[in-house]
């Protein structure tokens, strides 16, 4: 349990950092998601999610302001027990919320996991086409994730787990210069009865760090239900 405590302390201290930031290119946003997963067969599962993103800290002051709502769908096909390919479709509503462009996003994904006792490593490669009103962005991303239960080697109901991930992203488009992003995520989740998971975490993003770095801290909350 002391491990859980130390992680919570770590998360809380990261959150505390948010308050002392003073740069104008720093923003903090919140992202809340509700996801539904269901297995179609032993080889195929689908996922639907509703996700909203809102500003928490912007222009050197705290304020709450909605930014966008995403409707997300993913279909995942297992190649075998530790490899899968997924296809995703996402629509982002932004125009009517903060005036930004709406977006249709098409995703292709390959995922590979490796398990060592309680630790699980995950490699994910994604290719995305982000179709905006004016132009389309082609993005490739690679994520390395690690997750493990906080009690024992197997995740049982009513137990907590930790997820850590680092991700590198490259965005390309005809009308903008290539952009590199880097994201680091830590999350704590709980597996509750009835296949419900609650997750809470932080994600630190360095956006366009090859051009003009923007730093963003995301506070992530999500509920994932398997039916």
């Amino acid at each position: 349990m002391s491990f859980t405590k130390s992680i919570i302390t770590f998360l809380a201290s990261l959150l505390g950092l948010n308050i002392v930031f003073t740069q104008s290119d720093f923003e903090s946003l919140g992202e809340t998601a509700f996801a539904l997963n269901t297995n179609i067969s032993s080889d195929c599962k689908i996922n639907f999610a509703l996700r909203s993103r809102y500003y928490l800290y912007q222009d050197e002051s705290f304020n709450f302001e909605n930014r966008q709502i995403d409707l997300v769908h993913f279909s995942t096909f297992s190649i075998d027990y530790n490899k899968s390919v997924s296809f995703g479709l996402q629509y982002r509503f932004r125009e009517s919320i903060d005036g930004g462009s709406n977006e249709l996003r098409v995703t292709q994904q390959f995922n590979y996991t490796k398990k060592r006792e309680g630790l699980r490593f995950g490699h994910r490669i994604r290719i995305e086409q982000r179709i905006l009103n004016e132009f389309t962005i082609f993005r490739t991303r690679y994520r390395f994730a690690l997750d493990f239960p906080l009690k024992g080697q197997k995740l049982d109901v009513n137990e907590a787990y930790f997820i850590g991930a680092v991700e590198a992203l490259l965005s390309m488009s005809k009308s903008i210069r290539p952009e590199f992003d880097q994201r680091t995520t830590v999350q704590i989740g709980w597996l509750l009865p009835h296949q419900l998971r609650l997750q809470l975490g932080l994600e630190y993003r360095f956006e366009a760090f090859n051009l003009n770095t923007e730093e963003r801290l995301f506070v992530l909350t999500s509920a994932i239900l398997k039916i």
């Binding site: 297992s78 995922n111 994910r124 997750d147 080697q153 109901v157 991930a165 009865p193």
Partner: protein
């Protein structure tokens, strides 16, 4: 409004934590391990590394397990609720099995499944009461040929339309004894 939501969330978490737990595996401190089992563990060679203690609860049934590394191999010893030794398992590589045993196991997989993929292979030494614990562990840890282990294999198998992860048990000759279907582990919380 936000406070209300957090309070509700907290309430849900509290509620679910207080529910009864059916199946559970957890790491426990050494002092919560049965005394009788600890006496045996204390007699293990001193160069056993990363000794960890686990407790498994399945309904009313409890069992204990100690895991450690000895000479670069991963061992686990299982004890009953009263601390009575049940078996010792050691992680092995399928390719290191004798050719005849390998052939028998492969034949079994090929005759029942369209495809198969081995995930984990363990040699399982069931404890016979007529042997002294020290003798028994010595045989197992030194991998002498005196004892004939069973082989426990976790594999992903595919029949025509169905894909499953199963745990198979074979005897020392590689002849099939039994299998059980395991629940596939979910990766859903990190997938997307």
């Amino acid at each position: 409004m936000k406070l209300k939501i957090s309070l509700i969330l907290l309430f849900i978490i509290q509620l679910s934590f207080s529910q009864t737990k059916n199946k559970k595996e957890e790491r426990i401190p050494k002092d919560q391990f049965p005394d009788q089992a600890l006496e045996l563990i204390n007699e293990l060679p001193t160069n056993c590394k990363r000794i960890r203690f686990y407790k498994e609860t399945d309904g009313d049934k409890k069992s204990y397990e100690v895991k450690f590394k000895y000479q670069k191999k991963n061992y686990s010893i299982e004890f009953s609720e009263d601390g009575i030794l049940e078996d010792i398992e050691v992680l092995i590589k399928f390719k290191n099995l004798e050719k005849v045993i390998r052939a028998n196991i492969k034949t079994h997989f090929k005759s029942y499944y369209k495809t198969y993929k081995l995930i984990k292979v363990q040699a399982q030494y069931l404890y016979q009461n007529d042997v002294d614990f020290n003798e028994f562990t010595k045989y197992v840890l030194n991998n002498t040929k005196e004892l004939q282990p069973n082989f426990e294999i976790i594999a992903e198998v595919r029949e025509v339309k169905k894909r499953e992860i199963k745990e198979f048990t074979y005897n020392s000759k590689g002849e099939f004894i039994k299998d059980i279907t395991l629940e596939p582990e979910s990766y859903e919380h990190v997938l997307y």
